[in-house]
């Protein structure tokens, strides 16, 4: 059973379109992190959300943590080819005994076509 469900699994869009990626769970998380991984590289942290209802913006990327801290979303406005990559969410469940070990979603593979 995957503790963090990401959707969609794949997304192919044209440059300039908007998109939203979701990260959902039935469990409460103390925080959620979003990473982007480009081909041939390791994941790189984009943002950490900690407070229920929190919204963070990173240029054209908007991240939201659900009020109940069970879900998160990533919205990209006017996508560009440079946004292409694998988007991963990860977090630590609130009831986890070990707060060092992240639970990972399977990722959303985004392709932005020029």
């Amino acid at each position: 059973t995957q503790l963090l469900e990401q959707s969609p699994q794949f997304l192919s869009i044209q440059e300039g379109e908007n998109l939203t990626v979701y990260c959902n769970s039935s469990s409460v998380f103390s925080s959620l992190q979003w990473y982007r991984q480009e081909p041939g590289e390791g994941p790189v942290l984009l943002v950490t959300v900690v407070t229920g209802g929190e919204v963070k913006k990173l240029k054209r990327l908007t991240f939201q943590f659900g009020d109940a801290r069970k879900d998160s979303s990533l919205h990209i406005t006017a996508a560009q080819p440079g946004d292409t990559g694998l988007y991963l969410c990860a977090g630590i469940p609130s009831l986890a005994g070990n707060n060092r070990k992240l639970i990972w979603g399977l990722g959303t593979s985004l392709a932005v076509n020029p």
């Binding site: 992190q33 390791g42 950490t48 900690v50």
Partner: protein
């Protein structure tokens, strides 16, 4: 910037060989992790370490061992490589405390023939 360096980008080995993957971080991080990444299966934790000479099993430790003799270095060992260990291997480190991000190396693509 945190730098996590993995010793090889690509590696080809034969079944039965003992394989060593090395990882070094330069930020004095307490925690270090080894993952493998496979299509459709995501990132799966093999082992992690939260201090020198300390290690804990992750979700898929079978067929692997690790060594952390110095704080900056975390080694993954395939005792007797098998073809089902062909994968992308990623090393990561993080500082102590909750909600800390993990910093990744660029990965080692390992092929076992």
């Amino acid at each position: 910037d945190v730098k996590v360096t993995q010793s090889s980008r690509y590696l080809v080995k034969r079944t039965g060989e003992k394989v060593f993957l090395e990882c070094v971080q330069d930020m004095d991080h307490e925690n270090m992790f080894w993952y493998r990444q496979d299509p459709g299966l995501g990132l799966r934790l093999i082992y992690f370490s939260y201090d020198v000479k300390m290690k804990e099993k992750g979700d898929i430790p079978e067929g692997y061992s690790v060594s952390r003799e110095k704080k900056e270095r975390f080694s993954l060992i395939l005792e007797s490589a098998s073809t089902n260990q062909t994968s992308m291997y990623l090393c990561a480190s993080s500082s102590g405390g909750s909600n800390q991000p993990q910093h990744f190396g660029d990965g080692t693509r390992l092929s076992i023939l």
